[in-house]
Subunit: 290 residues, 2 copies
Amino acid sequence: MTPIGKLVVVGVGLIGGSLALALRDKGLVAEVVGVGRGRRNLDEALRLAIIDRAEDDYARALAGAGVVLVATPVAQMPQVLARLAPLIEPQTIVTDGGSTKQDVIAAARAALGAKFGRFVPGHPIAGTEHTGAGAAFPELFRNRKVVLTPEPETDRAATATIRAMWEATGASVIDMPADRHDAILAAVSHLPHLLAFALVEELALRPDAAEYFRFAAGGFRDFTRIASSSPEMWRDIAVANRATLLEELRRYRGQVERLESLVAAGDGDGLFRMFATARDARNDWLARQA
Amino acid sequence: MTPIGKLVVVGVGLIGGSLALALRDKGLVAEVVGVGRGRRNLDEALRLAIIDRAEDDYARALAGAGVVLVATPVAQMPQVLARLAPLIEPQTIVTDGGSTKQDVIAAARAALGAKFGRFVPGHPIAGTEHTGAGAAFPELFRNRKVVLTPEPETDRAATATIRAMWEATGASVIDMPADRHDAILAAVSHLPHLLAFALVEELALRPDAAEYFRFAAGGFRDFTRIASSSPEMWRDIAVANRATLLEELRRYRGQVERLESLVAAGDGDGLFRMFATARDARNDWLARQA
């Protein structure tokens, strides 16, 4: 791809920081400017050479920018996009890393007005439970998927640039309608996160929680890994994608009720069928990943 | 510990095979005899030098045995214990590796009669999602916990021998009443397994399942790892521990209903509090493990 020139990252955390590192490693950015609320995090990003410069003035940050990645929690995006709007120059492309797309697109449409076509909505499906600049690493996107959800107005050349940018990090890039993205991610990502948080919280609030945690082992550790994720980020996702997520929660409550019926009845055959279907499906999925 | 002499493993899978390998590595067994339903698995155990001899005759297997480990799925234990009962010699100690303890104790009491005192109920809290002799490895129990749930009649010297046996594998051994064991494991192990199976099964049965799985990533992989576990083993555990597990499922349904209310109301503060409590509790737990 053609080098980006100046990359501005708003929210230099796991996603934003890792993109900057990946592009720097490939020599695809001339300068990286970090913008964010937390001075301590920006200092850490400077120390780790993730960014060349921290900037709290949006105008100075955006002057001459090639690409701006907004990688804050999604609830902050309306405000961030509103601040960016008047500063988008003819060559500037704005994209994001939000885990929900319909709400971000609506916010971008409202904030950017006639410049909405310069905004390429995106979601790198990559992450760990760790947060902040210190968690960033350049290989985060390698062999991962990035979904772009361009709208009819989205500039095609801008979309092509953002696609090439993510491909340069080692990701494969897929285009998809925003509503389909939000429906799929609700089921395979947002729901599991909420379920893991809910399991750990319930245990944590028991008076004898310590004894339960004492006997928690590897199965528990992996099942709940995502319950160590950022509460702020996941609150925003849950609220942003609430209609679809609510549908997933209802379906899943149906599954818990089915488990209750099967266990109450001691229905070993029914339980075996459910477990075997799950095991086979998961193992098929794993085999396709390999 | 004093070497065991002849170790008989009924069910040479992940648990039974790993115990045999760990004790062999330490020179603590003179001979390992494998008993089991599946000839192919026993042949694999022979090939991997997990056992010295496969035996389908219980009398020949048990003659002169020091320790017998029953490591089959728990539903098979009543039948296995009934076959062992007449063959228990004065020096023979029987123990098990079942994930539920009250049902196994009841089965042992019924099957062993006057010899019930020679049975030491145990549960090594270790495992992976893999099964069979081929999954066994000698380090499985290192830094793991083994719970023993001796009853008033249980021979104290026998309990001490089984404790020393597990400690020799690198595990720490804890005594606990069987009902407390079953209550704690229902919450931190049995419930998460059922929840993971239920999540994957529901996705797998959707007409467009492939598209959902295509975008499942690392969070999904870890959350559902335990859904690759043995359907047979987990069916048996769910049925064996059904009263306690049902209570856990009811509590968890309450959590799903709370999630539905919070998401439906767009209650970001309530979601944040739940997520933050979970995140903090899990991180504290991880820090204590380190």
